[in-house]
């Protein structure tokens, strides 16, 4: 996984709340046996609307997406995270995330950054103007090019995995002896 320290660029000003994973990637595109190549189908439903932000050249390749509360609700499909990653998104900023999506995002090197509603609104306005934002995981802050700065919190384990680009299965396999001992103790 690519380590995440600091990313900088434009941001898709999506703003919608309750963005579900069907909206991020419709089920018709889940019929794949590989992870790559889903970016072109991301937000397919919204992309059918003329003037949508995902086909607006000024946001093409933006590494950040700004959304409303409860981003990524619904299905557990990791294809949503794969589609965002393939689209080039490395950080999503929202007032809250669904539990499953935020886990899937981290496992694919995407930072799910939680900020207060008012901060998200400010960033949304900046993003609409085409401002550049940066998400810094070492400093734990989001900064706009006009100087606004918003600090955020993140689970330490997830932060460590993101910063180091760590393979979680490899980490867990280091606990092999404890797993075996649990199996012997419980008789499963």
């Amino acid at each position: 996984m690519t380590p995440f320290t600091r990313i900088e660029g434009r941001a898709y000003p999506l703003g919608l709340s309750n963005v579900d994973t069907d909206l991020i990637i419709p089920a018709a595109h889940l019929k794949v046996v590989r992870r790559a190549g889903l970016g072109r189908y991301a937000f397919g439903t919204l992309r059918r609307q003329p003037g949508n932000i995902f086909d607006d050249p000024q946001f093409a390749g933006a590494p950040i997406l700004i959304a409303g509360a409860n981003f990524g609700c619904g299905s557990s499909r990791e294809h949503a995270a794969w589609a965002l990653a393939d689209l080039g998104v490395r950080a999503v900023i929202a007032p809250s995330f669904s539990d499953i999506f935020s886990g899937n995002a981290f496992k694919n090197g995407i930072a799910a950054v939680v900020l207060e509603e008012s901060a998200v609104q400010r960033l949304l306005e900046a993003a609409k103007l085409g401002d550049t934002l940066s998400v810094d995981l070492e400093e734990m802050q989001v900064v706009t090019n006009s100087g606004d700065c918003f600090g955020f919190d993140m689970d330490p384990f997830r932060r460590e995995c993101l910063l180091g680009g760590l393979d979680e299965i490899g980490l867990t396999l280091a606990s092999e002896a404890a797993i075996t001992s649990y199996e012997l103790r419980t008789g499963i």
Binding site: G15, L16, S17, N18, D20, D22, L23, P26, A27, A28, L30, K31, V32, V33, R34, R35, G44, T45, R48, G68, A69, N70, C73, G74, S75, S76, R77, E78, A81, S96, F97, S98, D99, I100, G103, N104, K107, N108, D155, P156, F157, E168, I169, L171, T172, L173, S175, A178, I179, Y182, E183, T186, I188
Partner: protein, 485 residues
């Protein structure tokens, strides 16, 4: 072990901690892993690339459900019919190759045991009280109906569980949902869970595990509990738990994968101790009165967008929250509805009775009860009844339910996820409206541009008869006494 009273969730959690890290992250043992064709191929590929094995193939059960067409699977000579869609066929072939390579138990798509993964797990006794159950599917929450800590995971986690039989997790908060009293005639567990989601919102359970408590849930059948637990995720909660009781034990006894003989008695003893202790504290509590619940339908594009069938489409201006106001406005445009429109005036073109929420025998009986001796409206273009598994299908046919559906003008299909999610040929065309017993009314969920109204099996059956959203209590006024029984 601490002496303070513990919730059921804490008991199951504590019993599955393999290792606790200083930051509070725990390595949690996973007892049961359900696998289907859509969220597993990349996980198996990951194992192969890293040269890893499946640690405990004996704790994994695989079945295909999302992609399978629900049309007949065997030709006139009894041979299997190949899936026409090349991508679906490839995903199914990948699952079959993977279960073969890694030695995983698998129900073939033509086996009587095949069905929707969340119908199959409980039906086979694979899901047991007090176990941890995962699946690469958010509706894994269903299995909490039997007292299992069950939650949906992504594909990276599927790979993690295959390789290690564990997950790295942080403990969730607990949310008690207490409902007391008796549900009215024509009001089902589906109406109750829709009303609960309406009350707490689609994000109301984020970060929490729900425990359903109170007399309404105690008297509810296991199949009703499966419907309720199933939709915990629509309120944002990864899991929803019911304390196992005599109903749970009676449901599980004799199931093929449940403990047998003396093992059974020991297991029941253990399961009796799982319920939350007297005085255990929950992080939050929400209370509802069952007698307040009416047959409920959704009008928008989030499962929180609910109203009693006797109500109206809301006015976006009536919402105080700015972003919700915008969301409602945009939902109504997508749904083709006007603020203030009576829900009972909304016309329907499609009926879907099925999905992991409502495809069990009791669901089919409830729908058949409404449809017996009635005909589908001419306005209905397509009406599907899709049993949750081959075993449910056999049972329904033994009871003659298939005849009732067919005589009423509905189609009786093979088991699978069907029209719930538009991954197989069963879809709702753009701009058309479906009365659906599934769990999600998201934009495009049932097909690009499709408009979904969620409701109970009895309500979907009533909509099939009238061709519009209908209060089932009015339609079957004369036999309501029978329905209550």
């Amino acid at each position: 072990m601490s002496q303070r009273p513990r919730t059921m969730y804490e008991k199951i959690w504590d019993a599955h901690v393999v290792e606790r890290r200083p930051d509070g992250t725990c390595l949690i043992y996973i007892d049961r892993h359900l696998v289907h064709e859509v969220t597993s191929p990349q996980a198996f590929e990951g194992l192969r690339v890293a040269g890893r094995r499946v640690r405990r193939p004996d704790l994994v059960l695989a079945v295909a459900d999302h992609n399978l067409p629900t049309t007949p699977r065997l030709n006139a000579n009894g041979g299997p019919i190949v899936i026409a869609d090349a991508e679906s066929a490839e995903q199914l072939a990948a699952l079959e190759a993977n279960v073969d390579e890694f030695g995983i138990r698998y129900f073939e798509s033509t086996a009587p045991e095949q069905g929707i993964v969340h119908v199959v797990g409980p039906e086979q006794g694979f899901t047991l009280p007090g176990t941890t159950v995962v699946c690469g599917d958010s509706h894994t929450a269903s299995h909490g109906a039997l007292g299992a800590l069950a939650f949906g995971i992504g594909t990276s986690e599927v790979e993690h569980v295959l390789a290690t039989q564990t997950l790295q997790l942080k403990q969730s908060k607990t949310l008690e949902i207490r409902v007391d009293g008796k549900l009215g005639c024509g009001v089902s567990p589906k109406d109750l869970i829709l009303a609960i989601i309406g009350r707490i919102g689609a994000a109301g359970g984020n970060g929490h595990v729900i425990e359903y408590r109170g007399s309404t849930f105690e008297t509810m059948s296991i199949e009703g509990r499966l419907t309720v637990a199933n939709m915990s995720i629509e309120a944002g909660a990864r899991s929803g738990l019911f304390a196992p009781d005599e109903k749970t034990f009676a449901y599980l006894k004799g199931r093929p994968l449940a403990p047998q003989a003396e093992d059974w008695d020991r297991a029941v003893e253990r399961w009796r101790s799982l319920a939350s202790d007297e005085g255990a504290e929950f992080d939050c509590s929400v209370m509802l009165d069952a007698s307040d619940i009416a047959p409920t339908v959704t009008w928008g594009t989030s499962p929180e967008d609910v109203a009693p069938i006797t109500g109206q489409v809301p006015d976006p201006e009536s919402f105080s929250d700015h972003s919700k106001r915008e969301a409602v406005q945009s939902s109504l445009e997508y749904m083709g509805l006007e603020a203030g429109q009576r829900l009972e005036d909304v016309e329907i073109e499609h009926i879907f009775i099925g999905s992991c929420t409502n495809s069990r025998i009791e669901d089919l009986r409830a729908a058949a009860h409404v449809l017996r001796g009635r005909k589908r409206s001419d306005r209905i273009k397509q009406a599907l009844v899709v049993p949750g598994s081959g075993l449910v299908k056999r049972q329904a046919e033994a009871e003659g339910l298939d005849r009732i559906f067919i005589e009423a003008g509905l189609e009786w299909r093979e088991p699978g996820c069907s029209m719930c999610l538009a991954m197989n040929p069963d879809k709702v065309p753009a701009g058309e409206r479906c009365a659906s017993t599934s769990n999600r009314n998201f934009r495009g969920r049932q097909g690009p541009g499709a408009r979904t109204h969620l409701m109970s099996p009895a309500m979907a059956a009533a909509a099939a008869v009238t061709g519009k959203l209908t209060d089932v209590r009015e339609l079957v006024k004369d036999d309501l006494g029978e329905m209550a029984a």
